[in-house]
């Protein structure tokens, strides 16, 4: 390509969501991938920087994503994606009436993520549920213990490698002959 053609080409427009741009400007290196799904902005960020990321998105005067609606997790084992887990945060700005989804990747064997409970009290039980169901521990959580399963339950039920656990029903044709019908 000649230098004249390069000089005349207009600079590529940054069409990313304003949250992605603000994040890149305020916390360089935190944003791993900015994407969109069905019209909703999804930001994949570095696991260790999730607290600063959420603080920035909340404090930015043009974003004001000050309401954490949900913290959940997804196990991509069945889809063969890496890293195996994603912790998903749903943010909502009441002032600007928009939603942004933020995700962090949590690899298998290292299922820890920083807790955002110190900044967002609502995350207390939400992170407990993620720990209970997926086995992802949140460092800095004030009270990390199981919330839905019994306190001494051994598995993390929502993981894809844990079976649904339906009990087999004994019908007359699958009860062994020595057992009472």
């Amino acid at each position: 390509m000649s230098t004249e053609a390069q000089a005349e080409a207009p600079p590529a427009e940054d069409t990313r969501h304003p949250a992605a741009k603000a994040l890149d400007a305020g916390l360089p290196g935190a944003l791993v991938l900015a994407s969109e799904d069905r019209g909703q902005a999804v930001l994949l960020v570095e696991r260790d920087r999730i607290r600063e990321t959420l603080q920035l998105l909340r404090d930015d005067p043009a974003l004001r994503l000050d309401w954490l609606m949900d913290v959940t997790a997804i196990d991509y084992l069945g889809m063969g994606r890496e890293p195996r887990f994603n912790v998903v945060y749903q943010l909502l700005s009441r002032q600007f009436n928009q939603r942004v989804t933020v995700k962090v990747g949590v690899p298998e064997g290292d299922e820890v993520a920083p807790s955002v409970t110190p900044d967002w009290p609502t995350a207390n039980w939400l992170e407990r549920e993620v720990y209970d169901m997926m086995g992802i521990r949140f460092s800095g959580h004030p009270d990390l213990r199981r919330i839905l399963m019994p306190h001494d339950w051994q598995t993390y039920p929502q993981r894809k490698d844990v079976p649904l656990g339906e009990e087999p029903v004994a019908f007359s044709d699958n009860v062994p002959p020595n057992e009472p019908a």
């Binding site: 799904d37 069905r38 909703q40 999804v42 000050d66 309401w67 954490l68 609606m69 949900d70 959940t72 997804i74 196990d75 069945g78 889809m79 998903v88 749903q90 009441r94 009436n97 939603r99 989804t101 064997g109 290292d110 820890v112 967002w120 009290p121 609502t122 207390n124 039980w125 939400l126 549920e129 720990y131 169901m133 521990r137 460092s139 009270d143 990390l144 213990r145 199981r146 919330i147 839905l148 399963m149 019994p150 306190h151 039920p157 929502q158 649904l164 656990g165």
Partner: protein, 411 residues
């Protein structure tokens, strides 16, 4: 591998040991629940009392956890709607609607106008029915026993309306991906109008019994105060948030299913106590009636399911004529709907707050993940905040005013 200590080790047995490291010698530990008439379900509260004052309230959940989210992963997209009925069991139609909207957003299919209006009518009837149960149970908890009977008498009429058109009183599974399960019953609009004509006098009846009632006011005014900032920080939504002064209702802010067409108000209060929450919910019932009447006026003719043949079954005559229709029918009955891969979070305004569905599809015929952001679960986090520091006698009023449905809390 990073190891991290959880607090699991500190909690040996389920009982007094749960609070052993922090219990003061001069306080008493009382268990409220899990079997208790006033905990609005199977909720266990561990109360640490200093005389009559609640020093600490620790809710223990999970008694009704049935693994609904995991069950949904083993069902097809259409089968999964039956699981959504059984979460917050007082608003099955609203649960159905949230799930259907999320999946329809993933598919990208159009819902015909008649189905959209019908969805609004059904959601608002469900909201009234849910508030009636709340009103009845909250009142009887505090001793107003007649109110319970009157509220359930009206709720019976709504259950009859649902029975008429959906075939079920409660677990309807009527609002499905692609529209409604079936055409509305021909008598449904007229009988709903009859209900709307009679109901305002009933709300007046409840208010006549409670609103200026000195005992009711003594037990709910100034009790269980939750400020707007506390509510927002705890993620509380719905009538509890609006009674604390924050004007946020998804039907107005992020309308779905045509809610922007209807003229209604969002009731607000500022005190944030139990009495304010009572007033907000009573007004919400009146506003829901307004919406239903407008929607009935608007109810257009037409199909109640999308014409997208990848989602809805073709009509039987078409199957006889068209090979394509036959193939669609075959695929839908054997495999079910296939939803394009992607992730979406869709929220509706349930009777208790923001009901969000985070649905993930991997392109197959069953959901890969369906996480439900339940308002009951998140709102219940506020219970310790409104109960601690107050008298144990107010505990029942506090729980009732937050209106938790444990099926939604535990899923």
């Amino acid at each position: 591998m990073v190891t991290m200590e959880t607090r699991e080790g500190e909690y040996g047995t389920v009982g007094i040991g749960d609070l052993a490291p922090r219990v003061r010698q001069d306080t008493m530990l009382i268990n409220m629940g899990p079997q208790h008439p006033s905990t609005h379900g199977v909720l266990r509260l561990q109360l640490e009392l200093d005389g009559e004052t609640v020093v600490k309230c620790t809710p223990h959940l999970g008694y009704v956890h049935t693994g609904i989210e995991k069950t949904i992963e083993s069902r097809t997209w259409q089968q999964a709607v039956t699981a959504t009925d059984r979460m917050d069991y007082l608003v099955p139609l609203i649960n159905n609607l949230g799930y259907a909207l999320a999946v329809e957003k993933l598919i990208g299919c159009e819902i015909p106008p008649r189905a959209q209006v019908a969805r609004v009518i059904l959601s608002e009837l469900q909201r009234i029915s849910s508030h009636l149960v709340w009103m009845g149970t909250h009142a009887i908890d505090l001793g107003a026993m007649s109110v319970f009977l009157y509220c359930f008498r009206e709720r019976e009429q709504i259950c009859d309306l649902f029975d008429l058109t959906t075939g079920q009183r409660m677990m309807t599974s009527y609002i499905r991906v692609g529209g409604l399960a079936q055409e509305l019953h021909p008598d449904f609009p007229e009988r709903t109008r009859k209900f709307c004509r009679e109901f305002p006098s009933h709300i007046d009846q409840y208010e006549a019994l409670l609103k200026e009632n000195e005992i009711w006011q003594e037990r709910t005014m100034g009790v269980g105060i939750l400020t707007g900032e506390q509510a927002l920080a705890l993620g509380v939504t719905g009538p509890v948030l609006r009674a604390s002064g924050v004007n946020w209702d998804l039907r107005k802010a992020q309308p779905y299913s045509g809610y922007e067409q209807y003229d209604f108000e969002v009731p607000l209060a500022t005190e944030g106590d139990c009495y304010a929450r009572y007033r907000v919910r009573m007004q919400e019932m009146r506003q829901s009636l307004r919406i239903i009447e407008q929607a009935l006026d608007r109810l257009p003719d037409g199909p109640t399911r999308t014409s997208d043949r990848k989602v809805s079954l073709p009509p039987r005559e078409e199957i006889n004529r068209s090979m394509e229709a036959l193939i669609h029918h075959f695929k839908l009955v054997t495999e079910g709907i296939r939803v394009p891969a992607g992730e979406v979070y869709v929220a509706v305004e349930s009777a208790r707050g923001e009901l969000g569905f985070y649905v993930v599809s991997d392109g197959t015929n069953h959901p890969y993940r369906c996480h439900v952001r339940e308002p009951n679960f998140v709102n219940l986090q506020a219970l310790p905040a409104i109960m601690e520091g107050r008298l144990v006698a107010d505990a029942v009023a506090c729980i009732g005013s937050l209106d938790p449905v444990i099926g939604g809390v535990d899923r």
